[in-house]
């Protein structure tokens, strides 16, 4: 028996890591890639667009309600400001609020969910009560209260959105931790001498992460919509142009200047759609049960 070594499967030159497999599947996912490309285009446009286009979005250069034409490609709003210039610069606020708020909600949600799911018992009960408290708060009203109390700066708005949107992530993370915690390889890691922080962060987290990544992608979309909603209600940062702010300011003139409302609305719509497609692509790439076995 001593010399009897079992043969290994014909190993590929680079052993396929699960993460690399996922990436490969994602790159082949049409909807996911479409979403990714749209988002990339929106991000590039809002980063480089204002400089390339060169029109000050606050400058009342055109006539009010100037329709789209050679002077102003997407028309001008009720003050004669260039809508395209607003769209390009407004993407920065919308995207950065979306990303930052999603990050905050994921950080809070994962921390709460991981601790509750790993430790169980009273830790779980207390943390889940807190989560439920945040879940039953009407989130828009709560965010409005925060903004009213602390002022309508972009930072406060981002924080407010993050703080009201973490409970979903927390519940998801907790469920994943409960599932993974009972698996034999986690037990094996306990038997192998893992300390709690090692088990929580290095063993369970990587295996609980896939659905959390999908939820995080979708949280970006929700946060963009949320910011749009706040700005629409006039609670946005008055010093920063965002798509929601453009919508809110021009909504009364919808019948006179449809372009000033339609284009920011379309920008929000396509960005959120792209985020959803991206999430779907990630979900399919990550979830092996839906993946066809090759």
């Amino acid at each position: 028996m001593g010399g009897n070594r079992s043969t290994l499967p014909a190993a590929p030159a680079k052993p396929a890591s699960p993460a690399r497999e996922m990436l490969r599947h994602f790159l082949r996912h049409p909807a996911g890639m479409a979403g990714f490309l749209i988002l990339l285009a929106v991000a590039l446009a809002s980063l480089a667009g204002p400089g390339l286009y060169g029109v000050d979005p606050a400058d009342m250069a055109a006539a009010p309600f100037e329709p789209p034409g050679p002077e102003v490609p997407l028309g001008a709003d009720y003050l004669g400001r260039d809508v395209l210039a607003g769209l390009l610069i407004g993407g920065r606020a919308s995207l950065s609020v979306g990303l930052a708020a999603a990050l905050i909600s994921v950080l809070i949600g994962v921390a709460v969910g991981a601790l509750a799911g790993w430790f169980g018992g009273w830790v779980d009960r207390v943390l889940m009560k807190v989560t439920e408290f945040f879940q039953v708060l009407p989130s828009l009203l709560f965010a409005m209260v925060l903004v009213t109390l602390f002022g309508a700066s972009l930072g406060i708005i981002t924080f407010a959105i993050g703080v009201v949107s973490w409970p979903g992530v927390a519940r998801l993370t907790r469920a994943e931790y409960l599932r993974v915690r009972g698996l034999d390889y986690v037990r094996a890691a306990v038997a192998g001498g893992g300390r709690p922080h090692y088990l929580i962060l290095r063993v369970v987290l990587p295996n609980a992460l896939p659905p959390i990544i999908v939820a995080a992608a979708l949280a970006i979309g929700v946060a963009i919509l949320f910011e749009g909603g706040l700005s629409f209600l006039g609670l946005g940062d008055p010093n920063v142009i965002s798509w929601g702010m453009m919508l809110g300011q021009n909504r009364t003139y919808l019948l006179d200047a449809w372009w000033a409302v339609t284009f920011p609305g379309a920008a929000i719509f396509f960005t959120v759609l792209a985020v959803s497609l991206l999430g779907e692509g990630l979900n399919d790439a990550i979830n092996p049960r839906l993946r066809k076995r090759g």
Partner: protein, 339 residues
């Protein structure tokens, strides 16, 4: 059992070939597999995981997963070729003439209906019984599968029953319409040993009553030895040995069957229990995965008797009374002639 006349075949599988659509053309999953199950008898299809035994069962049911197709050979159920039957005909046959029980009775039962409803539904669907008659039929089936307090259990949900009870319910559903062929895919693997023996006893009793032919799929030759009349041993998609169960067990012809029998420990009782156990015989390596099967005899890379002639695939050749083996060595290396 060998002296009596052989009843007509309920199922006859002839030169069955199943392939998996692959990137570089179809990969063979099953190749030239032939076996027959006489009415009222049991044939055990034996093999390790990856040998294709479950695919054979699904091919018979017309339930091959996407990407797999049965492209050569015939599957004759009472003379009718299922391999070319239209889907509607297969649906009509499944559950009535042809039925199946699975390894995991929990996932095969619908959790939101009572077991009585699930048995009754089969009866209503295939025998056109009205609700009251179907319920009465369901109760009778539960009694037949020896479920204690059958009348109360009729209204139980699957999760309220133990694993053994659930498998009995599966058997009740499968046999409700008196099928001519029952396919049992590892029906006792998920159950405890004592329950396993009970389930096999039950299948045998019911078979005597109904004359159903049973195709039993298993990885364990020893476990099915008592219930099976005939066995067919599969290795890497080919049939390597067929014959009466007792004779194959007593004197296996094919080196793979011999290895399979020799490498599992046997219970030694009474006086034989004394003394330390010897090391088990080992077959080196493992079953070749799909697409990595050699051109010759599939077992040759692991076979201690392999020689140059094993580069040609050996056909299944007669090897004594009612037996056949696919090995060039059979004839010159048989351990002992079976009288």
């Amino acid at each position: 059992m060998s002296g009596t006349t052989i009843p007509p075949l309920a199922l006859s599988v002839e030169h069955l070939g199943v392939t998996l659509a692959g990137r570089d053309g179809p990969l063979p999953v099953l190749e030239d597999v032939s076996f027959g199950v006489p009415a009222g008898r049991t044939l055990a299809l034996i093999g390790e995981s990856g040998c294709g035994k479950s695919m054979a069962a699904l091919a018979l049911m017309g339930l091959l997963p996407e990407g797999l197709r049965c492209d050569t050979g015939a599957i004759r159920l009472l003379g009718e070729d299922l391999a070319v039957a239209p889907p509607a005909r297969l649906r009509a046959l499944r559950g009535s003439t042809l039925s199946m029980i699975f390894q995991e009775p929990m996932t095969a039962l619908n959790p939101v209906f009572t077991v009585g409803e699930q048995i009754a539904e089969t009866l209503r669907l295939h025998q056109g019984l009205d609700a009251a008659a179907a319920r009465a039929g369901a109760l009778e089936m539960l009694r037949k599968v020896e479920i204690p307090a059958a009348a109360q259990r009729l209204d139980a949900y699957p999760h309220q029953l133990s694993g053994g009870m659930r498998q009995r319910v599966m058997i009740a559903i499968a046999l409700a319409c008196r099928p001519r062929l029952l396919i049992a895919d590892e029906p006792t693997t998920a159950l405890d040993v004592t329950v396993q023996a009970q389930i096999f006893d039950l299948l045998k009793t019911l078979q005597r009553e109904t004359g159903t032919a049973i195709l039993l799929i298993s990885h364990d030759l020893h476990a099915v030895a008592d219930i099976a009349d005939e066995v067919a041993v599969l290795y890497a998609g080919t049939c390597v040995e067929t014959g009466p169960a007792s004779r194959v067990l007593a004197a296996p012809e094919h080196p793979y069957t011999r290895a399979l029998l020799a490498c599992s420990p046997r219970l030694r009782l009474g006086a034989a229990a004394a003394g330390p156990a010897p090391d088990l015989l080992e077959v080196p390596g493992m079953v070749p995965p799909l697409g990595q099967r050699g051109p010759g005899c599939r077992f040759a890379p692991r076979c201690e008797l392999a020689g140059a002639d094993c580069n040609h695939p050996p056909p299944l050749r007669p090897a004594g009374a009612g037996r056949a083996a696919a090995c060039w060595r059979v004839g010159d290396t048989t351990l002992e002639a079976v009288a």
